[in-house]
Symmetry: D2
Amino acid sequence: MRQYGNPRLLAPNTCNRYNASPMTEQSQFTLPVRVYYEDTDAAGVVYYANYFRFFERCRSEWVRSLGYDQRQLAREHDIVFVVRGVSADYLKPARLDDLLSVHLSVVDVGRARATLSQRVLRENELLVDGTVRLVCVSAANMKPKSIPDWLRAQLEPRS
Amino acid sequence: MRQYGNPRLLAPNTCNRYNASPMTEQSQFTLPVRVYYEDTDAAGVVYYANYFRFFERCRSEWVRSLGYDQRQLAREHDIVFVVRGVSADYLKPARLDDLLSVHLSVVDVGRARATLSQRVLRENELLVDGTVRLVCVSAANMKPKSIPDWLRAQLEPRS
Amino acid sequence: MRQYGNPRLLAPNTCNRYNASPMTEQSQFTLPVRVYYEDTDAAGVVYYANYFRFFERCRSEWVRSLGYDQRQLAREHDIVFVVRGVSADYLKPARLDDLLSVHLSVVDVGRARATLSQRVLRENELLVDGTVRLVCVSAANMKPKSIPDWLRAQLEPRS
Amino acid sequence: MRQYGNPRLLAPNTCNRYNASPMTEQSQFTLPVRVYYEDTDAAGVVYYANYFRFFERCRSEWVRSLGYDQRQLAREHDIVFVVRGVSADYLKPARLDDLLSVHLSVVDVGRARATLSQRVLRENELLVDGTVRLVCVSAANMKPKSIPDWLRAQLEPRS
């Protein structure tokens, strides 16, 4: 997976960054998302909180692509992933009718937690660059719980 | 509480309607609501679905003003009100930074249901005129259930 | 496009209603919508206002399927459709992870307005039955404006 | 305004963290926010993206408390603040009917940017601890622009 935090790659306008650091890594999952009126605000752009909704749609479809859905993980495996922390850099705004792609790649998996890189692009232009930290908890008592091996194997970053 | 149905204050194209159905009832509850970026869309106005969020904030604060909260009604009295139907006429748009007042009055109460009139005004200008039909259900099985007399007495329209 | 109004497929308590008003028209456009956490509320179901977001996604994709997008209609043709009124009956709740289909059919087209029937189904089960009234306005001054003939031809109900 | 960083008031598992980074600054602005159904999700808690809506309501009311509104800043002073980055740690969940307080304090002000600490508390319990980075841009061309001195004086952290 690419190293995207390299400060040398960061340039004020962010353009160089993505030229200089071609997207050689794999995104482990990508979801197309269309921008509708509901997503925008009076400034004419996507409202900043709504990118986290796009991130979550992407995570949900990723889990589904692995063969699970979240209700089933909770009911049959007593597993819920809760968001423990997020960050996002807003580089360029998305607008009404834009077709975006929302990307997810696993950065790190621990005993009971995982860190994801999540990004929003329009064509090859990076709009939002985010990180989401998840904790695996028991659906029954909401206490942290080890990610089972069969699931961990599917989550791990690809090299 | 103020009388907000004064037809002279309504736009010409809505006058007849309100003359034909004179507003003799009073608004039983009013909640001030400020418009933030989250409420608006790229057309520069409040997104049409979001008025229903304002309606629901108003209903929640109305129930609280009667001395209950919704979690308590569910837990202690096995009562949940669910929305069975809505309608809304959008007369004029609200905009960023507007201070709105959201009004509620009970139109009709049946054995297990109630109909509310809900309106959004900016000063004396009627922006949205809505109706919400609620059904009282059991929190345990979600089946319709009579509104208890002690609660019905508080809900009934004032004349 | 599929016929979704077959009364035999509707739940028993909704049959009479749809027999009384037989669905002879066809759904002119259908959009699949997945239910994510963002759409649900603490009652475990899709929040009532959010069905209007689904309705609008469906209208936007329908316009796109006709060969336009909304920014282009505004910029090149000085046309914006604004919502003048809505109604919805909530028959059954949708839940997290449900795959819904959102339907649209044109009921009526006037000089400067159109009425749409919009529905949400899960498989063959009707969950929400709504109506949306639109007015065609000038993007420049927001005053009502005739729907141009070339567009009206595409909007009209199919028989 | 109250001192909310008192480590004794924080839950045990968050103490060390705040001891390590002592909160000597005061909260410059606090907004009470009630949790409604619209804010929650099917997990029974406030949806993670919605805390950013609460943050923005707080910023908007803070600007208003300084004597401005955002439309006026744009129109009369050609100033818009855009969000360049955010982060949030989710420590404990908020639930339906909770009365929260949303806090804002200025951490740092640069030529054309400002960093805010934003927090959500329920009574003395810290639920969400966030940071928002703003850039001041021209409303006309959206390019970065120096924060005028008269405004900077009002933004600066209080010691």
